[in-house]
């Protein structure tokens, strides 16, 4: 009797075990990761004249990380993620303008406010096709932009919110004009939030998000509460974006309508695409790549750098953006080899049309 090779291993008391072990393994910090953050910390001392741009990179990185949570992990296509970024920025700016100058208080309030907005609007993106989600997220950002434009007695309208003065961080570190405090502050916040996000995506919760992204119908059939998970991650991502916006408002001490503009949502998508969606370092690496690119291009053609950004986007899509991330993954043969042996036990399905 020919034995089915799968039948032998088919009684899997190991499935839950396997998942648990693989999650724990993914949760371990690799050398490259520690190196990445060590380099980031070293730039605090080694590149003192670049702190202003590094500060922007840290903020954009956090913003892209937030988009990655919903786009890369949960598969929600959003064209209006700047809504939360801008909301957080205005929140922090307005708070500081009215005398609550403590930066950390501003961060917490902005995060909560953006999370609330994200929670409320998350119910709008649960329904409909990709196109509907696109339009609804875009619409939410546009509505907020209109409100910020019209409610000029609160937001300063088209002139921007001026006269923000921040207190020292933790009551100790004053913001300086070289951006050193600002960079240290943004980097620390980004790092802490990154650790939280990292913990989340290697938890069973994160695993369920990925299964929803790959096949929502199947995920529902396995018993994952799809809608609740999506609401949760959307709210979380909104809070992250709000913190990123608040960081920008606090460190630049200025908020303009630009934080809610469409091009900000589009740019952050580009950042994520450059870095690669679906793994946490995508946003951070993308932020570095994007900012460096923007710096070079705008020094070269100050007025028309958008052309080259557009060209890069087009080429990236045509070449296939997955290819870049696949190469990055291929650089880590260790984890691949280890999974390859056990992968047969857990047959995976490709994403199907639902």
């Amino acid at each position: 009797m020919p034995a089915d090779p799968i039948a032998k291993t088919a009684v899997p008391p190991s499935t839950a075990d396997f998942v648990r072990r693989s999650l724990v393994r993914k949760g371990r910090w690799g050398v490259a990761e520690i190196g990445f953050w060590a380099v980031a910390a070293a730039t605090l001392f080694l590149l003192p004249e670049r702190h202003l741009i590094l500060n922007e990179i840290a903020i954009i990185g956090l913003f892209a990380l937030s988009l990655d949570l919903i786009l890369g992990y949960a598969g929600i296509v959003s064209l209006g993620h700047a809504a939360f970024f801008g909301f957080g920025a205005y929140m922090a700016g307005i708070l500081a303008k009215h005398g609550f100058a403590d930066p950390l208080l501003g961060l917490v309030v902005s995060a909560l406010a953006a999370a609330l907005l994200g929670f409320v609007t998350s119910f709008l993106v649960l329904r409909g096709t990709d196109l509907t989600k696109l339009m609804v997220t875009l619409g939410v950002a546009l509505v907020l932009g209109e409100i910020a434009n019209q409610a000029s007695w609160v937001t300063g309208g088209a002139d921007g919110l001026q006269g923000i003065s921040m207190g020292p961080v933790l009551g100790l570190f004053e913001f300086d004009i070289f951006g050193t405090t600002a960079y240290a502050y943004s980097l620390t916040v980004t790092f802490l939030l990154f650790i939280v996000a990292r913990r989340i995506v290697v938890s069973p919760f994160g695993l369920s998000l990925r299964s929803i992204r790959d096949n929502p119908l199947r995920a529902r059939a396995v018993g994952i509460p799809v809608n609740r998970r999506l609401v949760a991650v959307y709210t979380l991502a909104a809070a992250y974006a709000g913190v990123a916006g608040a960081l920008l408002a606090q460190t630049t001490q200025f908020v303009s309508l630009d934080v809610l503009a469409f091009h900000r949502s589009a740019d952050i998508m580009l950042v994520l695409v450059i870095g690669g969606a679906g793994y946490l370092y995508g946003g951070l690496l993308g932020a570095i790549g994007f900012k460096v690119l923007q710096d070079i291009l705008s020094a070269w053609t100050p007025q028309y750098w958008q052309f080259w950004i557009g060209l890069i986007l087009v080429v990236l899509v045509l070449v296939g953006r997955e290819r870049l991330t696949d190469k990055a993954k291929a650089l880590r043969p260790r984890s691949r080899g280890r999974l390859a042996g056990q992968a047969k036990v857990l047959p995976t399905t490709t994403a199907g049309e639902v």
């Binding site: 990709d130 998508m269 986007l313 045509l318």
Partner: protein
């Protein structure tokens, strides 16, 4: 009051001509093309350049405003768009945003960032009074042209061989191909005509909507609203949606200018929540 209604209808008609190409690519072919406004801008600039630099009469530039974007659209479809039909929506969005950025910067480089002005011929300027309503001549002209276009389009789609082939190709490309329909050719033609119509709309609208390099970004959302709210199974859906949008926008700007675009965006969100398939479409 009636004048506002009239202006709103003209505006809506214009939006329909601008957006109907998108209704086909986005609605029927299921391709999220955010760069549609770039073709409209191309048409507008063709007219502006021909009139201002070469002194051609307004009417004579209109056919060219159709033909040039149509050929650009055809070339892009054959070389680039074609490869993305089967890709994910995210890829399509990224690709077309990239195109928009390129178009905006390129036009800025070639033409400068200022507003392009078009001198309308004398017989299209001014207003006349019809049955006690103030009616703009140019707007009547737009309504007439767009009205004819709507009827012709509807007839082509529903009565001709090409129309039924297009519908077949859209419904099920594989079966259509099996029946000997050249799906690639049909899609390319449709894309070219859609781009050409957008160009024509851009040329007609240069006077009303304004024309500068940021045109594709400014009006992208309007086109998308027309298509998503109108639903995508017929051509009448987007048509009604553009009329509603046009009238609501003009009336909103006239009566409650402080609320601005707020009403329209909110309405769009509400409609999309209640009817994700669009206002006039049956759920599939």
């Amino acid at each position: 009051m009636l004048t506002i209604l009239f202006d709103g209808i003209a505006y809506g008609m214009l939006l329909f001509v601008l957006a109907c190409g998108l209704a086909v690519t986005l609605g029927l072919m299921n391709f999220v093309n955010l760069a549609h406004g770039a073709f409209a801008m191309a048409g507008g600039y063709v007219t502006a350049v021909l009139m201002n630099r070469y002194g051609m009469p307004f009417l004579a530039t209109l056919p060219l405003a159709f033909i040039v974007p149509a050929f650009v659209g055809l070339a892009l479809e054959r070389t680039l768009y074609k490869q993305l039909y089967a890709r994910s929506h995210l890829d399509q969005v990224l690709f077309s945003i990239g195109l928009v950025f390129m178009a905006v910067a390129a036009v800025d480089y070639a033409m400068g960032s200022q507003q392009q002005l078009i001198q309308l011929p004398g017989w299209l300027q001014g207003r006349v009074e019809v049955l006690g309503i103030q009616v703009g001549l140019y707007r009547s002209f737009i309504i007439a042209i767009c009205g004819v276009l709507v009827v012709v389009l509807q007839l082509i789609l529903s009565k001709t061989r090409f129309g039924s082939r297009l519908r077949a190709a859209v419904d099920d490309p594989r079966v259509a191909r099996g029946l000997g329909i050249n799906v690639g050719l049909i899609f390319a033609t449709t894309f070219a005509v859609g781009s050409g119509l957008a160009g024509l709309g851009g040329a007609l609208g240069a006077e009303i909507l304004g024309l500068d390099p940021t045109f594709p970004l400014k009006f992208m959302i309007y086109f998308l609203i027309v298509v998503t709210v109108g639903g995508t199974t017929t051509i009448t859906g987007p048509f009604l949606a553009s009329l509603i949008l046009g009238i609501a926008d003009v009336a909103g700007k006239y009566y409650v200018p402080s609320l601005g675009a707020f009403i329209i965006y909110t309405l769009m969100i509400v409609v999309l929540i209640l009817r994700p398939q669009g206002l006039f479409a049956r759920a599939r």
